[in-house]
Symmetry: C2
Subunit: 635 residues, 2 copies
């Protein structure tokens, strides 16, 4: 069955990508842009920068230390291959199929006879293989190769890509097996690649190698670095850690693998350790957007409550990785909270990254942009992960291909099944069909304008004489949601709403979610946004942009009156805001609290979805809006 993640067991089962089809709406449009623009865009940039030619040069014996690109540029080719594999299966697109063959052939030529495959080490005058495990990313690259091979295997079957990936995996097992080098890679990824490759091929030894890498980590196995071993999660064994820390993408790829290994080994201790880390990290180290990673310095999680909106890193790839983790936990446990975080992250991190034309991307996703960025040059490689405008490509360009592979397989994250029925986790116009035990078939068509509107109509498309359960996630924010079926309308609480019966074809179950804009307040321990409020609408976080104000300085000065509530406008919402004049003082620390000048005028401040910010051009932006009348505390 074709699915990025296929555990051997779990509370719920993923549906194959062939069982779910997006029919329109928010995510379908992004899949179309991804297919028609992003995939070719990525290949063309990698050709232009020589990242593809790196494989040719290894094959031709002409490579050396002058090889262009970072040591992890091979992985971008593999992530593109993964995206192409999902895309070729989604639409049967012959261009995607041709690209897979074209890229696979070039990659294959670079593989050494013993299975080693890397363009940065071990050839010509390059450093020897595995001579820099802390920073070399060799096994990281291989992990992405295996994920690409999984996609190909599950959508197409064995081919050259799968065969070369198997040789690469076998090489890794030989070198790093139980009797081999007791080492790990500075950037986790081989673990999640091996675990899924083992599942896809039914070969447990790959899962076992993933377990070995996992258990080796956290004992100071890698050399110390100035950022400390927490940077690559080698400070504490994953079973003992209480929270995610260090480089966010590394922490999350590692955690995804830990869920895979825990499930395959029925290792509940490990699973529960991961669940605890998820809980604490989500409660204290996660942005309202779902974004993770508070620090630019190490692309890392900060400490508890350290969630600055302006310097939020919130790397797009960390969003992808967070979805990987929560999806695995959802499959293992069936709990709605994991689908809640997936939804939040999809709408407010992953959807924020690509431009509408699919040819420019955000790398970092801050929640506050003070100074509008420079307009991006579509021919320029951005040296920086920041800047406030989407860039065509990056010097470190992990995000575009990560977005591409996620969007191409996104329909795989909407729904699951179990022995008793179908669970809908994300709402989009789609057709779903699942075979249940005892010959039952659960087939539905979802019609909805979500997230713009809150009505989700689930039409049963295949009648059945036997009962099954249709389970609909009610998002945590959806207080007052209702469910309407033939039995009438009832209020349903956040969590899961279920309807169980022998459905007849054409029957409709309607979930109504309250998507009116709402104020959201931060925990008082999040120092950086004290005295502020955010506005959300359904799963979307909204923001103010300087383009709707007299200028960027107005974003610094504005205050919101929450008592005036929120109004609907042409944009997502309108808030009542004051734009006080704030004359510049010589010293910004005062003997009294500043009060704005009384002649400041109230305006209706437009608020728009965060994921669309800067689409009208460079802009100042803020998600967290200072409030004019904070409620007193401790009175």
């Amino acid at each position: 069955m074709s699915s990025p993640v296929l555990p051997s067991h779990g509370r719920v089962r993923p549906l194959g990508l062939a069982q779910v089809r997006l029919n329109g709406g928010f995510w379908y449009e992004r899949q179309v842009v991804n297919a028609s623009a992003t995939l070719a865009h990525c290949e063309s940039w990698m050709e232009r920068l020589g990242w593809l030619a790196n494989f040719d040069r290894v094959a031709d014996g002409t490579t050396g230390p002058d090889r262009p690109g970072w040591p992890f540029s091979d992985s971008e080719v593999y992530k593109l291959l993964e995206a192409l594999a999902w895309e070729a299966a989604r639409t049967g697109d012959p261009d995607a199929e041709a690209a897979i063959k074209r890229l696979t052939a070039r990659v294959a030529r670079a593989q050494d006879p013993d299975g080693y495959l890397n363009t940065c080490f071990g050839h010509g005058d390059q450093p020897p293989r595995y001579s820099d495990l802390e920073g070399g990313h060799e096994l990281y690259n291989t992990g992405h190769l295996l994920q690409a091979a999984v996609a190909r295997l599950r959508t197409h079957g064995e081919d050259d890509l799968v065969r070369l990936a198997r040789r690469a995996a076998d090489h890794v097992c030989r070198v790093f097996g139980a009797d081999g080098l007791a080492a790990i890679c500075g950037h986790p990824e081989i673990e999640v690649g091996l675990a899924e490759f083992g599942r896809a091929l039914g070969e447990d030894r790959y899962v076992e190698q993933a377990r070995l890498f996992l258990d080796r980590r956290g004992h100071g196995t890698l050399r110390d670095i100035p950022l400390g071993r927490a940077y690559f999660q080698d400070d504490l064994p994953i079973r003992e850690a209480g929270v995610w820390r260090g480089h966010a993408v590394r922490a999350l790829y590692l955690t995804a693998a830990a869920v895979d290994v825990a499930v395959e080994r029925r290792d509940d201790e490990l699973l529960h350790a991961v669940e605890r880390q998820w809980e604490r990290s989500v409660a204290r180290r996660t942005y309202i957007t779902g974004g993770m990673g508070s620090r630019h310095q190490d692309e890392g999680f900060g400490e508890d409550w350290e969630l600055p909106p302006d310097r939020a890193y919130c790397e797009t790839c960390a969003g992808v990785a967070s979805v990987m983790v929560s999806w695995r936990l959802l499959l293992a446990t069936g709990q709605a909270r994991y689908a809640d975080l997936i939804e939040r992250t999809l709408y407010n991190v992953i959807a924020a990254s690509p431009s509408p034309d699919g040819r420019a991307f955000f790398y970092a996703n801050p929640l506050h942009q003070r100074t509008p960025g420079r307009p991006a040059d579509p021919e320029e490689v951005s040296p920086r992960a920041e800047g406030g405008t989407r860039a065509a490509w990056f010097d470190v360009s992990c995000c575009p291909t990560n977005v591409a592979r996620t969007l191409a397989s996104l329909h795989g994250y909407l729904a699951t099944s179990d022995d008793d029925g179908l669970q809908l986790h994300q709402y989009a116009p789609c057709s779903i069909s699942a075979e249940l035990p005892d010959g039952r078939r659960a087939a539905v068509e979802v019609e909805t304008g979500y997230p713009r509107t809150g009505t989700v109509r689930v039409r049963i498309t295949a009648g059945s004489t036997a009962s099954w359960t249709l389970a609909l996630r009610v998002p945590a924010w959806a207080t007052g949601a209702t469910l309407t079926d033939e039995g009438g309308t009832r209020e349903v609480a956040p969590g899961v709403a279920e309807v169980r019966r022998a459905f007849r074809a054409g029957e409709v179950v309607t979930l109504d979610l309250p998507v009116e804009p709402r104020f959201t307040w931060p925990d008082p321990r999040i120092d950086a946004v004290r005295g502020c409020v955010a506005v959300e609408r359904g799963p979307e976080v909204l923001c103010a942009e300087s383009r709707d104000l007299p200028g960027p300085a107005a974003l610094d000065a504005l205050v919101i009156d929450t008592r005036a509530g929120l109004k609907a406008g042409d944009d997502a919402a309108l808030a009542r805001a004051l734009l006080p004049a704030r004359p510049g003082g010589a010293w910004p620390y005062l003997t009294h609290q500043a009060a704005p000048r009384s002649d400041a005028g109230w305006i209706d401040l437009p608020l728009r979805p965060y994921h669309s910010w800067a689409q009208r051009g460079p802009a100042g932006m803020r998600v967290w809006l200072p409030v004019s009348t904070p409620h007193p505390e401790g009175e």
Copy 2:
């Protein structure tokens, strides 16, 4: 005359270090510890790490690319030499004198016949001279050598150190002169070194070389780097820039040199450009401590209003550099605002760095420490600039020697003179004597317990039949200060209070500064501390430490009632605070504003000087305290 900075003209003149003697108190104690512990501590670490032997190895022809230390480690030896020179003059300490000779001899042996002097480039298999101007720090090192030579020349006269520095400076002028390589150094410092060396020797060509370097900068003269050219101020000519940006120490060393060149060239355009940059940077990019540099990533200034307390970098060296800039501007203009910032920075950045025993240092000076650091190992080199505990030494160890040279010459920053009298800028127990024109002599003795107490008694120690003016700075925070002399007591406004007459010996002028603890509120545009208040006492910023609370988590939760005012306690102040229980939620973004449980108890929260934080051991700490009852805005 012995003084670190001796402009050829200016609104006021520095006093020579021999004209001011500290007699006790806050800064005297730190000078004693610096002399008796820090200087030897620095030399011993540089010996231990091979930074001194690097000079021997160049002399012996045994060095190579394996040389230990960063490319700028030579500069630490020079900064130590500078500190030793000031110290030898301050006390006549024979150990300091011996150390100068010992270190000078080792440095001298490493100088190439053409004057080039560097242990990291140009010898053995090292990269060629000036092959990495962006990162190599060669001219930066030379700049510190020149500052050391200035100290030696002005306190002792020409010796081997001065002679070798002259050869090094001549080499720089030959290579980088008007007809030479049109290049600059990635880290400014050569400019300020050359300017002062030229003044000390009366050789204008060194000042001219400094001007050349200054005017070459800001035109993309250096290669671009991922952090951008603003990192080393090569993005904009200094005459055109409106604010400090990029790496804080670089920006400030460059600015200090710009003041020197502006003064020597009577270039008011340049001086006014620097004043504008100072104004905007102090108004929008400076911490309440005087600390500068908001970002760890590039050790840099952030944007306007970007002043996070927890991730504040506030490098100790940036404090030293900020004092260098403001001192030069004070000499040029006589304006009290520059002395205000110097005082703030001395008490809350520079004094915070060294431990009471002078053998451990803060590198970064954040205003909020969430998690107590690890106890520091006195035998360990800290790889990191952060951590919440003072470290014996650092991998990048610029701060200890920078503190040492500043403390050894600190008495030079207390007072100035002009044709009409004496200006006291900083208050400490001291004796001051200055010759004025027309044979007048201004001699005073200052008695004070400042900053603990606010009374500053200035006793005239030499009578005079001719009038002169005693000018006393009234700090900007000192509303309600009074001045008492034989004419009675009068209120004096912040700025400068003057008494002009023919003083008789024994006469006393008393300044009373209000040093009761006070609340200070941030500009509402400083997002990171919205809804918080700081407490200051005189020039000292106070802070709360977790050691005075049930635990670090209490620092996250506490709120202050500002209406209850502040009380005096055994510590600097007591504030009325609530420690609400804040039960952990699953998601920290809420549908309503959190209210603490009503059974939370009020306590008297001890507040202590920020500069002494973590002296009792690792601790959580915060300067900005959330308030329980923010005043409503925009009502």
